[in-house]
């Protein structure tokens, strides 16, 4: 990512989910994240895109998903917005509760929270905004010594 911020407007389709994941993988790699962190970022973005396309916009062809990547001094900030009716955060069950372990859905937000440093969800009547933040870790002291 040569620019500090890039954004995309995408259709509400399965292709958008794959595309969002690919973009996240490419940008996180370019920013120098390690393999595990790249996987975490790409998976979090994929889950966010699934929520936007499937649960937010409901695959509606007239509704778009916007995806933005922004690099600040310390953070990679990813924003995903849909044009749905907004989600009720109080209705999202804890997927680790024994009674929910065998449910076949409801793990997306949990995975995002597991993989990212910050996850903010702002639902509104005109759509949901999801903000994912991953800290950009600098080189370790050992790495600096090794480069000298």
């Amino acid at each position: 990512m040569t620019e500090q911020r890039v954004s995309y407007t995408l259709d509400s389709s399965l292709q958008t989910i794959d595309s969002a994941e690919e973009k996240a993988t490419r940008i996180a790699t370019e920013l120098g994240f390690g393999d595990d962190e790249v996987m975490q970022i790409s998976m979090a973005v994929r889950e966010g895109a699934v929520n936007a396309v499937l649960h937010g916009n409901g695959y509606a062809p007239d509704k778009k998903v916007t995806l933005a990547f922004e690099r600040t001094g310390e953070d990679l900030i990813i924003t995903i917005r849909d044009q749905g009716k907004g989600m009720d955060l109080s209705k999202i069950p804890n997927p680790l509760a024994p009674e929910n372990l065998l449910k076949t859905s409801g793990r997306g937000i949990f995975l995002m929270r597991s993989f990212m440093d910050v996850v903010e969800i702002r639902p509104s009547a005109t759509g949901t905004e999801l903000k994912l933040i991953k800290r950009v870790h600098g080189p370790t002291a050992g790495g600096e010594e090794a480069s000298q």
Binding site: L14, I17, M39, M43, R46, E47, V50, L54, P95, L96, L101, L102, K103, T104, S105, R107, G108, F110, L111, S114
Partner: protein, 114 residues
């Protein structure tokens, strides 16, 4: 890389060799259809060999859970074999590792069926 499956029989147990990605869309649907078809034909001892599965998302995890419960509800048994590190880590953080019967040796997996 999309998902591919191939089935083989070992001592009355169906080994389903999966490769690629189990994600929302084709991958999840293929896994669901494969398990339902096996159960429909009376194959109720199933091992999902995930050695070549390099990526799985929450929909794929949900599909593994669905395959497990569907098989169990029909009087069968489903085990997981040869998890990659990524899949293993996901099952650990979602606490599903304790739900599934996970094996890392095919002969042991086949032998473990009652």
């Amino acid at each position: 890389m999309s998902m591919k499956v191939g089935n083989r029989q070992v001592d009355g147990v169906t080994i389903v060799d999966c490769s690629g990605r189990i994600t929302l869309g084709e991958g999840s649907v293929l896994l669901r259809d494969t398990v339902r078809e096996l159960l429909g034909k009376g194959n109720k001892k199933i091992v999902l060999n995930l050695a070549e599965v390099n990526y799985i998302d929450s929909s794929g995890i949900g599909e593994l859970v669905s395959a497990f419960t569907t098989t169990k509800n029909q009087g069968g048994e489903l085990k997981l074999l040869n998890l990659t590190k990524k899949v293993n880590d996901l099952l650990q953080i979602t606490k599903l590792y304790t739900v599934f019967d996970v094996k890392d040796d095919e002969a042991a997996a086949v032998k473990a069926f009652k």
